[in-house]
């Protein structure tokens, strides 16, 4: 059973566009939702994270929107750049444990 569903699998946008990656979860005990960014040949790195007590969090050009009632959260990248081309993973965990449940990933390509 996939606990975190991520879409789309791949995404192509032009420079300056706003790619949006969506994730949905089922376990209502989840209360921590990070996004990881992975460049080719590298391990994943934490990009931004949100807790369910807020509906939006911004860090630079990256924004997480969170909808607790719908059990969905999404990543928006403002003014996307070719350097943003990477694979993005959403994840979730609960206070009961530290292991993250990852989505299947979205490969983003930003063309110049």
């Amino acid at each position: 059973q996939q606990q975190v569903k991520q879409s789309p699998q791949s995404l192509i946008v032009q420079k300056g566009g706003i790619p949006i990656i969506n994730c949905a979860y089922e376990n209502t005990a989840f209360d921590y939702f990070p996004w990881y960014q992975q460049f080719p040949g590298k391990g994943s790195a934490l990009l931004i994270a949100i807790r369910p007590d807020v509906s939006e969090k911004k860090e630079g050009r990256f924004t997480i929107s969170f909808n607790k009632s719908a059990k969905q959260f999404s990543l928006h990248i403002m003014d996307s750049q070719p350097g943003d081309s990477a694979t993005y993973f959403c994840a979730a965990s609960s206070q009961a444990g530290t292991a993250l449940i990852f989505g299947k990933g979205t490969t983003l390509s930003v063309s110049s």
């Binding site: 209360d31 990070p34 391990g43 994943s44 934490l46 206070q95 444990g97 530290t98 292991a99 449940i101």
Partner: protein, 113 residues
């Protein structure tokens, strides 16, 4: 900066071999994790460890074992490698407090022939 070092970037082994993947972190983190990453499947947790000599099964532990004799080192063992274990393996570590970011190594691409 946290550094998570995986001993090999690329590894080629034969079916039936016993394979060891090593991971070392330098930030005194309590938690360590082993994932495998496959196209279209994302990162799947194999095993994790909260402390020395402690281990917990993740989502796909079959065919794998782990060892954590020292806090900074977490080893993944393929007891008898099979071709379906060809994958990218990623190690991560985090502090013991809940919901701390996980820091990843650069991965080991393992091919089983």
């Amino acid at each position: 900066d946290v550094k998570v070092t995986q001993s090999s970037r690329y590894l080629v082994k034969r079916t039936g071999e016993k394979v060891f993947l090593e991971c070392v972190q330098d930030m005194d983190h309590e938690n360590m994790f082993w994932y495998r990453q496959d196209p279209g499947l994302g990162l799947r947790l194999i095993y994790f460890s909260y402390d020395v000599k402690m281990k917990e099964k993740g989502d796909i532990p079959e065919g794998y074992s782990v060892s954590r004799e020292k806090k900074e080192r977490f080893s993944l063992i393929l007891e008898s490698a099979s071709t379906n274990q060809t994958s990218m393996y990623l190690c991560a570590s985090s502090q013991g407090v809940v919901n701390q970011p996980q820091h990843f190594g650069d991965g080991t691409r393992l091919s089983i022939l």
